[in-house]
Symmetry: C2
């Protein structure tokens, strides 16, 4: 497969992105091609500095760069030769099979929706990440920032997206999907959660196990936690805050270490027609490498095809 | 002053509530009267078992009890002789100066709003708690569960309530009030935060310092974090989750220990006409004692009077 990587994306690009690409070489097969999008001179220079043969990669010269603070749509329009713009152009044209960037996540979202587009039936895409469980394994939480104003029907769809991801990528059999809430009783929470609960209860697209609280996040009580992009983002940023607090104070152990975002690569953008991964702005080389491997997993699992099928069925049943 | 305490409120009542009341005796002055509301026989029995003179308290026999899972309004109506119902009746009649309970928080909210009522001009009351800061001291976060569907104008009022509480109770000079958000830039967040930001910017009722992220919660970047009751509840439940995770794993230190909810007593219900404190359901004796001391602080600081003044001015300026 051909994996596109935006070399200029992320706070520590291009150093960490190139290092991550080099790390990924060890795990990719000879059939995989890593397509590096960015300023060709910079890329070649970094590869030479690292003593790595430039021919191991497919380099596409895209000298522009969308910065973190730029307005997504405007930037995509005005910078046709930025890594993100070019990446989605190639993805839509089938020249790459998956695309990943730790750059401007708004531009990644807008680029994906404009180029490969949402899967028919999906109202809003979302992004997800995994959280370690105390007794081993991971659960999934979504949305973690893409849709801060998700309505109840959109939360319901996040349940479908999360369930399929947990099944295909996390290899969970019949994933348990819950709604992240402030109490476990039926009818708890704000109006948005109350309405979403009602839609999720007794649905036939995923196995709904009710409301769960933050204390259940690490307890293997559910495989998928559904929430809106505002709450989900607050939740993962609080985990990061704690992770840093305890690291700084030398209070960690093997389980707490698993809260390190680097281990998880990036956040898949779910609900669009091709594998797209959003990296963390502060991605390390390890995070970039894991992000690359995640795109491969998503492509090989054919999750996009499965999502198209289930949303076809969903749209059909709904009407 | 006369402080009312619901003896039957909390998961470990009446044992912990009685123990907490006994602990408080050491810190109260001879002028303070602790009014214990609950089943008189049970109270006297517990006090005798603890070897404490029953005459040190004013005991009001209220044998009924509103359980955690009961519907607040229905319970208040059907159980006139429950501690919570009676407590608010006494508070409204001026027979006690403050009231605290670790029982059904919905009944506490409904009871407060029905009896002593909201301060004129306050659209919705809210509850608050303090969070430890790495470099010492505390900040305030509100709402932490009372109003899960707070609209932007209500969030704005939470800013006023929090600012006055920080000034009068936490003794902060010109408290820095921020909006808890997913990014620090202007215009970040969901529609609710965007609109609240607009209202808070350049206001003259409190010192607004903009958006803050979860990573700023322990960094002394603001004295008051404003959010809605859904997000605030998720945030503090996540802190509790982490606190328990690290305690269980013996990973704590002096700072992390300060995340122990017991130290903070209870959550003041802000925006009503008298000091009302909601205790945590799992309150220990220490938490109960601290909750009692908190009601005293609120009463003595005359915070309710100050809030009535500022909301009078607010209603006046708005029109």
């Amino acid at each position: 497969m051909r994996i596109g990587l935006d070399i200029m994306g992320g706070d520590f690009a291009p150093v960490n992105t190139i290092k991550g690409a080099i790390l990924a070489l060890d795990e990719l097969t000879p059939k995989d091609v890593l397509v590096l999008l960015g300023d060709e001179n910079v890329i070649r220079q970094e590869l030479r500095a690292a003593g790595v043969c430039e021919d191991l990669f497919f380099i596409v010269d895209e000298p522009e760069c969308i910065r973190m603070e730029e307005k997504p749509l405007k930037a995509l329009q005005e910078k046709p030769r930025a890594g993100i713009t070019a990446g989605f152009r190639m993805l839509a044209a089938g020249e790459i099979d998956a695309f990943a960037s730790a750059g401007n996540s708004g531009a990644m979202l807008a680029g994906a929706v404009r180029s490969v587009q949402c899967i028919p039936g999906v109202v809003r895409p979302c992004s997800a990440t995994t959280l370690p469980q105390e007794e081993g394994g991971d659960c999934l939480i979504l949305d973690i920032g893409t849709m801060p104003d998700a309505k109840p029907d959109v939360l319901f769809q996040f349940g479908i997206l999360g369930s399929i991801y947990a099944q295909y990528i996390l290899k969970k059999d019949k994933p348990r999907v819950c709604l992240l809430n402030v109490g476990t009783e039926d009818g708890k929470g704000n109006l948005q959660c109350q309405a979403a609960f009602h839609l999720m209860k007794n649905n036939r697209f995923f196995h709904f196990v009710g409301n769960m609280e933050p204390r259940d996040l690490f307890k293997n009580k559910a495989d998928v936690f559904v929430t809106d992009g505002f709450v989900g983002n607050i939740v993962i940023k609080e985990i990061e805050t704690f992770y840093r607090l305890i690291q700084k104070r030398n209070l960690s152990d093997a389980f707490m270490d698993r809260m390190n975002y680097e281990l998880y690569g990036g956040s898949p953008l779910l609900g669009v027609n091709a594998p797209v991964i959003l990296g963390h702005g502060i991605s390390s080389a390890l995070a970039i490498k894991n992000m690359i491997m995640q795109t491969k997993k998503m492509h090989e699992s054919r999750i996009s095809e499965r999502l198209r099928e289930i949303f076809y069925e969903y749209a059909d049943k709904k009407e």
